[in-house]
Assembly symmetry: C2
Homo-oligomer: 363 residues x 2
């Protein structure tokens, strides 16, 4: 099989992997394709947190069609697992047992229980193992899985749309239209890559956002979960996020909120988490426990500031719109205490989006 053919099969595995997005808890999303005699005989992906790994699903898929697995080549987007302390058995054992002769994978598993060990076991059992490198969109998704492993908190993107002079809100602007239609659409597209979206209660009060991804959602995808920082539970009962049956928001409130108020909100179908203080660190640990791995923080100024200052963020996505608001507008940051200077390599990406400029800054 030549390099080009290998890339075609791996790209297929990458495509299939995406079906698992937002359904795998803290697990990575993974896709697998089984190839024999230059023909795809089976394919699968990691469908949900308690379900089979992608490799197993690909093998089962092939067998269900009466295909013989022995001698096949397995393309898989992540190094096959080899650890036993979990619900599913190690994939390497299954791969060996089924007589697969070669495994081509995209990325090593950062989980220290696997990291390179999976590959070694396969090689010891005389399988050929090869890593190939393709620029791909899985990276972006699996940053969440990796950060959950290494830091035990989600991957965090801070997103803001500001005027050219750095303002996020003005009473003078109708519907707070700082960005234009194209920017709003682009910004909404981002949501599909996150399993959770965090906003402060002021954003709910001022903007009344839907906080849903409004692009095409296939049957495998799930809406990101809205996380509302609302220390005193001031969210209006007629807010859009409380009226949409499709989403189940999580409210993070102070422990001082009354039992009665809490019960009132629970009746509306929301989950309430009480914390003594709403620090970024405390919030992120909670989200990790809730098995959320990719968090998009959408403002407003207080939330943006506290996460920016915490240094726990991974990237900032800033849209500068084609408007000058002036100093009556609301600042990007609020009660911001320390000056933050980014390193050169952090100025990462730039794009014109409609009448706006988007800049992505990396931590």
């Amino acid at each position: 099989m030549n390099q080009k053919q290998k890339e075609i099969y791996m790209k297929k595995a990458i495509r299939i992997a995406h079906k698992g997005i937002n359904n795998t808890g803290l697990n990575p999303i993974v896709g697998a394709v089984l190839v024999k005699n230059n023909k795809v005989i089976g394919q699968g992906y990691h469908e949900k947190i308690t379900g089979n790994h992608a490799e197993v699903n690909a093998i089962l898929n092939a067998e269900s069609k009466g295909e013989k697995i022995s001698g096949a080549t397995l393309f898989v987007t992540l190094e096959p697992c080899c650890h036993k302390s979990k619900k599913t058995p190690p994939c390497v054992d299954y791969i060996i047992q089924k007589g697969i002769k070669k495994v081509i994978f995209l990325e090593y598993d950062v989980n220290p229980k696997v990291n390179g060990k999976g590959v070694k076991i396969l090689e010891k059992n005389k399988l050929k193992v090869e890593q190939i490198f393709i620029k791909n969109s899985l990276d972006e998704i699996n940053r969440g899985f990796k950060k959950s492993i290494t830091d035990k908190i989600p991957f965090i993107s801070l997103k803001l749309c500001v005027s050219f002079d750095g303002k996020i809100f003005s009473n003078k602007l109708k519907n707070n239209l700082i960005g234009d239609f194209i920017q709003k659409k682009h910004s909404n597209e981002l949501r599909k890559n996150y399993d959770s979206i965090l906003v402060g209660v002021n954003t709910i009060i001022k903007d009344n956002p839907e906080l849903t991804y409004r692009g095409k959602i296939n049957k495998y995808n799930i809406q990101p979960i809205p996380i509302v920082l609302d220390s005193k539970l001031r969210t209006p009962k007629n807010s859009k996020i409380l009226l949409n049956p499709e989403i189940k928001p999580i409210f993070i409130v102070k422990t001082s909120v009354s039992k009665k108020k809490e019960e009132d909100f629970k009746k509306l179908g929301v989950k309430i988490i009480k914390l003594p203080n709403l620090s970024p660190n405390a919030i992120l640990k909670v989200l990790n426990k809730l098995e959320l791995q990719r968090l998009l923080i959408e403002g407003g100024a207080r939330v943006f500031s506290s996460f920016l200052e915490s240094n726990l963020w991974d990237e900032i996505i800033l849209y500068y719109s084609n408007i000058f608001i002036g100093n009556e507008g609301v600042n990007m940051t609020s009660k911001f205490k320390k000056i933050i200077k980014l390193k050169e390599e952090n100025l990462n990406r730039f794009k014109k989006v409609g009448n706006n400029y988007m800049i992505i800054l990396k931590q």
Copy 2:
């Protein structure tokens, strides 16, 4: 002569034209090259406001070397003039009289006394006339000449270096280092294309800038003139712009400033202009009378705001640095009253400069 050869000669004329920069008052900068038998026999440029036009200097240059002009082709960056109400006689007459057979020019003169009429007179006298189009750096300089003709005020660029969150100053930053070294150098390079630089007195007090172009200045170039808006003449006597003998700043002050204070400052070699109010419109009319045609406005916030609001500006040059300052910093705008929404085509140019992003917005 083929197209490529024509372009080579015209590029030479463009290069020569630049020698006149900042020396021609409200006149354009113009270069000319005389070519005969595929050889340059003379060259010249518009050296200073009262001096010969470029065409005349090219002819005189050729004659001084004993060259015969008759039958030559003239390359000139601007349509030759034909109007008589000025210090120098019309160039078209001189060109015809000298037996030049062909004129190749770059741009029509926007001055309604010439605009197309110069070309017509040449054609009537059986000269071949041809316009050629080359992307060139003269455009940028001659925007000042054009705006002086059309609007009777200078071409205006507003320049600011801000933090990512749109702040121009913070007491917490040492030496107000919002941009980095590369940004400062890039920003200083801009100055060479302006004949005047305007700042508010607060910028002088806070930053104590030199306001000079610190690149290579050849013998033809002149430093831009610092214009300081200082209604009450609060500029400290030990400010760098008062200590540099190379520059002669102009202070625009309120008529209420005392005669004594005015005389004190005049002794330091500055020009003082008194106005009842320091509105952008009044200031720009004064600069036009002083024969300044290209104004770079470098801040601070009050000056930036008043010119932004006036809508008399032509372009905004914004550098976003790699720093977040927070809401204790000074806003880009001050007492800004109306929201300004730019049109799509106004988002003009983008460039990474060191650790900063530069965005140019057109009016």
